[in-house]
């Protein structure tokens, strides 16, 4: 099973996709697969909420991942060199900082639905920030683990490796900036003129 698990994963999903596609095709309902209709009919609320959820979820995942990677090494290295405990815990905090930034923005925008752009912008902005924070958290975590062990061996190395970790934190910062740029363009959700909750594009 171990050797062929990738065959099973890719093979099975491809097979199911092909069967469904051919079924739709041969029973004359090939038009049912309509990307444009899907994009028009899904609510911007759904997009926006998914984006916010992904942002917070992935950021927390990244922060947690980084913390456990660093923490395990601090515990191990701290047995012989207890001085490294407090200095190195600061590293874990850096990962959490960026996870809370996205949430204040959308809260004031979710009153009515209309603007597809807002929805899409929040979704992709949230995904960008979330993914960048995930990778930033992992990066800082791995670098922090090495730094904790290096600090245990030789105290002079602490500040030098801190600099390397700052570069890792910059990854999360870039993601945050790009996300903010995307969301800055998006206006609040405003009501369509008469019928508030229905998109004029839905038939």
């Amino acid at each position: 099973m171990g050797l062929y698990s990738s065959y099973y994963t890719y093979g099975l999903s491809t097979f199911v996709t092909v069967v469904v596609a051919l079924y739709l095709l041969f029973t004359g309902s090939g038009e049912a697969f309509n990307v444009g209709q899907f994009l028009e009919e899904t609510s911007p609320y759904a997009w926006a909420s998914t984006g916010i959820g992904l942002c917070i979820g992935l950021s927390v995942l990244g922060a947690g991942w980084g913390i456990f990677v660093t923490g395990a090494s601090i515990i191990g290295g701290g047995v012989r060199a207890p001085r490294i405990r407090t200095k190195n815990l600061i590293r874990c905090i850096i990962g959490i900082v960026y996870s809370a930034r996205m949430s204040p923005v959308p809260d004031t925008l979710l009153y009515t639905r209309e603007n597809y752009f807002t929805g899409y912008a929040l979704f992709w902005g949230g995904l960008t920030v979330g993914a960048c924070n995930l990778l930033c958290g992992i990066c800082v975590g791995i670098a922090g683990s090495t730094a904790a062990l290096a600090d245990a061996a030789d105290p002079d190395l602490f500040v030098k490796i801190l600099i390397v970790e700052v570069f890792g934190s910059i990854l999360g910062l870039f993601g945050l900036i790009v996300g903010l740029l995307m969301v800055a363009q998006a206006s609040e959700f405003t009501a369509a003129a008469p019928a508030a909750a229905v998109s004029p594009f839905v038939h």
Binding site: V69, A72, I74, I75, G76, G78, S145
Partner: protein
């Protein structure tokens, strides 16, 4: 990718092992030790290192074998701590490391039993890292057939016996040949296991094990000059995972003297350096002051008939290279080779300590710097 999940199971133990490594004796501490006049001074100096008061309860005068045994006990305690806290696959890796000692113990017991020695005495002389549950059962066997079947069923070494040695071989063949056959099977098995682990563990362990394999091949060749070991038998003892495999192994199998051994090792640059003459090139000794004299003594007596490389000198160069490879293992994080490398470095340190203690005890201060320091 190994960095993502390594710390889940083994991050704590890696931190512990690196802490142990930081406690290995440094150059300064070795210098202090070599300047001790008596064993009591030696003990006082050691208590300031990571060894602490491990000799505190020994009555004077302390013999060097006591020092060696106690230091080995420190190592065994550390290893058992690591082993009790490890999960798969690290626990399997640590188990593989004990098989080498088990092979030595089993051969010791077999030899002792066949010569009718006392079983308790034999069990006491076994290396503590190679002890397994059913070891006393080996002493009970009265003849070879029983011994072979007991070993085959009860011990973790059974696969190595099954593949290479039969019951008839156990009393006909020289015991050393059995030891080397077992060790060859063990090295190949260990290398295959490391390869399944993948990542940096496989790379670093392969480098270390390949050197071990080549070292054994060269030693077997040199030690078999002038004995009745035929060339085919010799060739069967060479492990196949070394850098000298296959051309070097074939050349070593056909070699008749040291010059041909040197030629067999030509393709590998590091091994070429082992056979060169010249004292200062490859012997970083404990201190510069007495160093050059003692190495010149080692090489000067023998002249040039062996091309400048004596057996003892070659063995020292092997140790130096092994220490170098083991130190390199610590440069990478998130892999298991640090555990193997630490145990080997600690063993080397215990050998050095025993040497220094012996020189102090026998008052042979001119040779006190002939140990191999780790840092």
């Amino acid at each position: 990718m190994e960095a993502l999940f390594f710390n889940v199971d083994s991050g704590f133990l890696e931190g512990i092992v690196r802490g142990y490594k930081a406690g290995l004796l440094t150059q300064n501490q070795y210098n202090n030790l070599t300047q001790c006049e008596t064993i009591e001074d030696f003990r006082t100096q050691l208590s300031a290192t990571d060894y602490g008061n491990f000799l505190a309860n020994e009555p004077l005068p302390i013999s060097t074998s006591t020092i060696s045994d106690k230091a080995t006990q420190v190592l065994v305690d550390q290893f058992n701590y690591l082993r009790s806290n490890a999960v798969e696959p690290l626990s399997k890796f640590l188990e593989y490391m004990t098989y080498a000692y088990m092979i030595d113990n089993v051969i010791l017991i077999i030899t002792g039993t066949l010569h009718g020695r006392n079983t308790n005495e034999l069990l006491q002389r076994c290396h503590p890292l190679g002890v397994f549950d059913t070891m006393p059962a080996l002493c009970v066997a009265t003849n070879v057939e029983e011994l072979y079947h007991t070993v085959l069923v009860e011990t973790p070494l059974a696969p190595y016996f099954r593949d290479s040695v039969s019951a008839a071989d156990l009393d006909d063949l020289n015991i050393e040949i059995i030891r080397n056959t077992l060790y060859k099977a063990y090295l190949e098995d260990f290398d295959a296991f490391c390869r399944t682990l993948g990542g940096p563990t496989a790379e670093i362990m392969h480098r270390i094990l390949a050197f071990e394999a080549d070292r054994r091949a060269i030693n077997i060749t040199i030690n078999s000059f002038g004995t009745q070991l035929s060339k085919e038998q010799r060739a069967k003892l060479f492990p196949t995972i070394g850098r000298l495999f296959p051309e070097g192994n074939n050349a070593l199998a056909r070699a008749d003297d040291i010059d041909q051994v040197r030629q067999a090792c030509e393709p590998v640059a590091e091994y070429r350096a082992f056979f060169e003459s010249g004292p200062a090139a490859s012997r970083p000794n404990g201190a510069r002051v007495g160093g050059s004299e003692s190495t010149a003594n080692l090489l000067g007596d023998l002249g040039d008939d062996l091309g400048g490389a004596t057996a003892a000198d070659l063995e020292d160069r092997f140790f130096v290279h092994e220490v170098h490879l083991n130190k390199l293992a610590f440069l990478q994080q998130f892999q298991y080779a640090v555990f193997y490398a630490y145990i080997k470095l600690k063993e080397q340190e215990i050998r050095s300590l025993t040497w220094i203690a012996e020189c102090i005890a026998q008052n042979a201060r001119d040779r006190i710097h002939d140990f191999i320091p780790t840092f």
